[in-house]
């Protein structure tokens, strides 16, 4: 679950929250149908502005990762149906590009970058 954000990081807090939820879902810490804490509860827990949490939830909902039932809370949604494979790949392209750029800047070989990515994948989803 979400336990920590770093307000002094250069990364905006709403992005930190979004990526932590994505990580929790990808690694199985949060499963389909699991309830998320309310905006105000999570804000109080993390000691951050509720508007910031609300913005993160809105983004995640727009991406289909969570869904909000009016008056009934927020849940982890099944984000895969309806999305074409090409759309999924399109979404992933920017972060892949960033990985590639940083790898090249560090003078790593393509194989080394791919090995690294495979290691992280197997940590998340297992072999």
């Amino acid at each position: 679950m979400l336990t920590h954000v770093n307000p002094s990081s250069g990364v905006p807090l709403y992005l930190q929250i979004e990526s932590q939820f994505k990580y929790a879902i990808a690694s199985g810490g949060l499963k389909l149908g699991d309830a998320l804490p309310s905006v105000r509860k999570l804000a109080a827990e993390l000691r951050i502005n509720p508007n910031t949490v609300a913005r993160a939830y809105q983004d995640l909902e727009r991406e289909g990762i969570i869904r909000t039932v009016p008056g009934g809370g927020t849940y982890v949604a099944d984000s895969t149906p309806g999305l074409l494979k090409s759309e999924k790949l399109r979404r992933l392209r920017p972060s892949t590009l960033q990985l590639a750029v940083e790898g090249i800047q560090l003078r790593l070989e393509p194989e080394e970058i791919i090995t690294l990515l495979k290691e992280e994948l197997s940590k998340l989803v297992g072999e």
Binding site: P7, S8, G10, V11, L13, P50, T52, A54
Partner: protein
Amino acid sequence: MSDLAIATRQLTKTYSRTEVVNNIDLRVEKGSVYGLVGRNGAGKTTLLKMLLGLVRPTAGSLNVLGMDYLHERLAILRRTAYVSESKALFDTMTGEDLVRFNRSYFSTWSDDAVRKYVKSLQVPMNRVFRNMSSGDKTKLCAVLALAQGADLIILDEPFQGLDPAARDELHRILIEDYIGGNCTILTSSHQLNELEQIADWIGIIDAGHLLLEGRLDDIKGNFRRIVASGTDLSHFRNQEVVGATPFEGLWQFVVRKDADEVAQQLRSNGAVVLEILSMSLQEIFLACIRKEELCTSPSAGETPASVSSRS
């Protein structure tokens, strides 16, 4: 009428020919938390006092909660709570006395809020104000301001003198009961890491000028530190560069936006771009006040406020 809790236009205060507040256009959205940041003597307290009618502007106009301060000052004060920088109240009154005294002025006063916050912040209400520690004075000022039920809360260094547990508790109270609703909070603070937790908007003020105003997320999303090497870059110019410093054979450029484009331009000048780093509010603040002449120079009708996308 507007979605702004506070709007000033060219607000100016001059003391014996020194412009303490200089042509400030401050815009605070309703329901937001606005953090005002600046060095000692930058003009923060004078600006806040003008909003409350405690200091008379030399020039400019200001509108608070949709009201004009000249004609509707009492109506503004009834709906505005204030914790002053000096944290001064009547010295010979106890906390209980001060609650009774303040309660009578506000129809929106909440005794429940007093009870709740006195307990969670552990304020010694039977002690006379003069004999309280500076932290307890700050706590009591905060309790009295919060219990008022105001639409606008103006806080001048609200965490001054508070121990870490009390700071955390005051944060929790603000988040659970005040932020994210209809209440607007304008606060000055030197605790930038704490402002980063609760502020939606940031204004950086220096020598009476508002150097930068924007949504914190946008500011953090746009400001970058670019580290480059490989060639002499002392003549490199770009309108988004806020500061350039040579550093052990490397060059560091702080840009207020468009970091990727600036990096590309550096490369075409023969430089190797080593890193593009995001920045904390503290780093952004220091970069702005050290290079205010660059940060304020408007280019093609753009001001530093254009880092924000006001909707």
